[in-house]
Symmetry: C2
DNA sequence: GTCTATACCTGGATAGAC
DNA sequence: GTCTATCCAGGTATAGAC
């Protein structure tokens, strides 16, 4: 079923834009209605409540994001190539979707007080990953295999996965803080992104070598 | 002026607890009033508005946090020691103040739509750092000095600073996501924390060595 | 299915007595 | 300084006509 030009689809699209821009609390049903060219009552007719509408949007967004990141994980090849490609693609993806970052941030921030575990962003992420990779964990597996083959030194794959995600994501998440503290920094600039990718591959690859002067 | 048992102080204390627990939006003036043992009207009498009260709280919290982290930066000594001590202290601090993480996360998330630049968390951070370190940047300086001395290979101090902060902070920030995706993971457990510190020192120290097999 | 009009609730802010 | 009572805006949800 391709995205039709029917009312439901228009509302969902408008809701996505508005939620991305203003967040769950900041978004107004009125605004969504206007952007979709209908009125408030119809939103409730189709989606019952703001909460339900929001859930639909968030699932769609997370799904898209997970896919965009995992698609760049080469299933084989040398580990150094994997590292380079993954970092490059992930950083680029993050740099080009700042609203999504902000959005996920909002969700993570509020997931603490959410009573309903099933509606939490964590669960939505997990399900999206399962849908995409069928329960397997591509990053963990790639790192484990590389270690087994001796391409890199033995490391805890989970720990390294976390570190890898960390160094990629952090600048974009902490951007408001970093740019305030370091006025010369512009996280989204071409210069910084290029340098960052290079530094990260360097740092992590060197950090994974078996022999280093101690 | 030690925290007196006067009304204003009691309100501020209650507000801190409630804001930490529920966040800016989630917190109710009613709740704060009850916890302080007074009524809503008094909050406005002392602090004028919820916004003003909130600002007072956030400055206090950020100040405390900055101090707790920067105090663990040794001003001299070998770089490897600095790395070990900083990671250990920072990770411990993060692990013991989960509400603060959540709080900062909320603030960063909302700092995007805040019109008033001066009231953003970024500015508050910057000011707190200046108050504490007098405009100097201890992390950057430490890394630069180590590179100049040849203790580590030449790296961009800013890039490495970001990476260092990233690998420390990320697990706590992304905890809801990570623990959903990796069910066996318990970020706040002693086991994980201990392992994490070890892995981080290893990874970063090795990553900073001049000679590595390429 | 789609509209207008409105009910209704939450929560911050204030008036005014003491 | 501290209280009670009340106002008022903003926003979700629904009733009911077409």
């Amino acid at each position: 079923m391709p995205p039709q030009d029917n009312t439901e689809e228009r509302i969902l699209q408008a809701a996505t834009e508005v939620f991305l821009q203003y967040g769950k609390d900041g978004a107004r049903m009125q605004t969504i209605a206007e952007r979709a060219g209908v009125n408030k009552a119809l939103l409730h007719y189709y989606f019952r409540s703001k909460e339900k509408l929001y859930q639909r949007v968030i699932v769609k967004l997370v799904d898209r994001a997970i896919k965009a990141v995992l698609v760049s994980v080469p299933r084989d090849g040398r580990f150094r190539d994997f590292l380079t490609v993954f970092i490059s693609n992930y950083v680029d993806h993050l740099a080009t979707t700042p609203e999504l970052i902000r959005f996920v941030l909002w969700e993570v921030g509020s997931s603490w007080r959410t009573p309903d575990k099933a509606a939490t962003i964590g669960t939505i992420f997990k399900q999206a990953i399962e849908r995409y990779a069928g329960g397997r964990n591509l990053l963990i597996e790639t790192i484990r295999r590389a270690a087994e083959r001796g391409e890199i030194r033995p490391v805890d794959p989970l720990q390294f996965t976390i570190s890898l995600l960390a160094v990629c994501v952090y600048p974009f998440v902490a951007r408001p803080l970093l740019e305030a503290v370091f006025p010369e920094l512009d996280v989204l600039s071409e210069d910084f992104l290029k340098a960052r990718k290079r530094e990260l591959v360097d740092l992590l690859w060197k950090g994974l070598q078996p022999e280093a002067t101690n």
